[in-house]
Subunit: 305 residues, 2 copies
């Protein structure tokens, strides 16, 4: 079971090396990340994009392109389609965004011919290692699904539990978060949370333990649970997955962690046939490398299923 990114990278190193296919690879930050991923034996990369520009950007960061396959395609959207089709055809294991706008990148994922659609809604998971917490935390959805319905939340849980399993967490604890830990009909989020818990008890959501609504303290801090007398619940400050009410709550919490706590993190898009890495320019170098490691672990698990 991976308790941090060091464990996760060790886990990756023990598997066959995966390959990431990059859409529009002429991006310095993305090239720096794939270089580090290759050096650390996390993943190889196929660089799809404008070959001249890729070489130019690589030179600007003193990157040796030996060992990287380059596919020359000057049109950005065509490059994305070529890059995603490599994953679709099994020639690469995961798909990563380069210097292309998010909308076009997502469109390529959803392409009916060469895309990675899996008949499931896509969702985003951000995995955190937080100082003082002895396990990985899986935050979802902080970036992709805006206002998930109950049905969407079921899909988000299924997508995220698959990632937990890939990280070696056999029966993750899922906390549908709210401001409070009891159902309040005036707060629809708490009603959804209780419904998800019931669906889990009835075997409609499997492979995990769902217990909500829960406040953040009761989800992540065992001492808070002892203090508030909620130690008879299924989650006692030991949640793995933090399911947010909506993108605002999720995104604000995610950025609070990044900018105030001592953390490492990585993130992928799930619900697809293969992991998709969509880091933003504001993510730092290590986050991009961690995201490739996370993608590799998930790709390995998908291969074995």
């Amino acid at each position: 079971m991976a308790k941090g990114f060091e464990d996760l990278i060790s886990k990756v190193n023990s598997c066959s090396t995966k390959t990431v296919s990059v859409a529009v690879a002429q991006d310095d930050a993305v090239l720096e990340a794939v270089r580090a991923a290759k050096e650390q034996n996390i993943a190889n990369a196929i660089l799809v994009g404008d070959e001249d520009k890729i070489k130019e950007v690589a030179a600007s960061i003193n990157m040796d392109l030996t060992g990287f396959e380059i596919i020359d395609e000057k049109d950005n959207y065509q490059a994305a389609l070529k890059a995603v089709s490599l994953v679709h055809d099994g020639k690469a294991d995961m798909y990563m965004k380069g210097l292309i706008d998010t909308k076009s990148f997502l469109k390529s994922i959803l392409d009916k011919e060469v895309g990675l659609r899996n008949n499931r809604p896509l969702s985003h998971v951000c995995v955190f290692e937080v100082e003082g917490i002895d396990r990985l935390l899986f935050l979802t959805d902080v970036a992709f699904m805006t206002y998930p319905t109950l049905e969407d939340k079921v899909s988000i849980i299924e997508n995220t539990v698959e990632v937990c399993h890939a990280c070696g967490i056999a029966n993750p604890k899922v906390a549908p978060l709210a401001a409070v830990e009891v159902v309040n009909p005036k707060m629809p989020v708490t009603v959804d949370a209780a419904e998800l818990t019931k669906m889990n008890e009835e075997g409609k959501i499997t492979g995990c333990i769902v217990d909500g609504p829960l406040s953040m303290d009761l989800a992540i801090d065992p001492q808070a649970a002892i203090h508030k007398g909620t130690t008879d619940r299924k989650i006692v400050g030991d949640a793995d997955v933090l399911l947010f009410p909506d993108i605002h709550a999720g995104n604000i919490t995610y950025k609070t962690l990044v900018h105030t706590a001592n953390v490492k993190n990585g993130n992928i898009i799930t619900g697809t046939k293969a992991p998709v890495i969509l880091t933003s320019r504001s993510d730092d170098f290590q986050t991009k490398v961690n995201s490739i490691a996370l993608g590799s672990v998930v790709a390995e698990a998908m291969k074995n299923n």
Copy 2:
């Protein structure tokens, strides 16, 4: 300008000593806080409640009751009414919850005869000192208003700006938070945020600078603003007030800060004729003391206005 709780407590010590009136004072954690507040010259206290029980609880924590006025009232709600009326009549400067349920305590605040209603909606502000951030952050509303309307948000800003002014922040920067920093009609929160910004520009919200929607990173981290190229905005990682879309986003963020970052905090209810201290049992000792200090600073400012 108070940059942290040490500054805030110095500020309190330089004013005339304030008095807190405690409703149903037979609570060990509350008595420990008022003892410390008295010892640190932050505030005196009048203890309203069951005198026998107050003495018993005081003995259990080795607390010397010399110098504390005790008003004996065995009925909890009557004790609350007596305690709040002391503030209403100017015999005390702020009102604090003891061993009484929150609903009854709030009812006493709203009592037409002896309460503290001010024809404004009540809101909650949680003030944070966060390691790595060189100013106080005022989070609102993380505990009281559930789903604020645009009109409610105006009131929350007004209530909170008053607290900022009391802390010496003459023209606080208010960031209406969202997952994104641009208006998206599919995200009503961003539309509200833009509307609040416009109302501020038009002079309908005064004493502060409002700039929203803003994502959390752009609100608190100047480096993120530089990185994302938003340095031409009114807020460049230097927000004082963080206005949350709803109680879930606010409460989850608040508890994330408390349980993962290195922080000090204190909180009060505002929108009343005098500050109200409603800490929960899960707040630690220092948070309760900090809340009394915050209440004292606000009471001093109210006296001078």
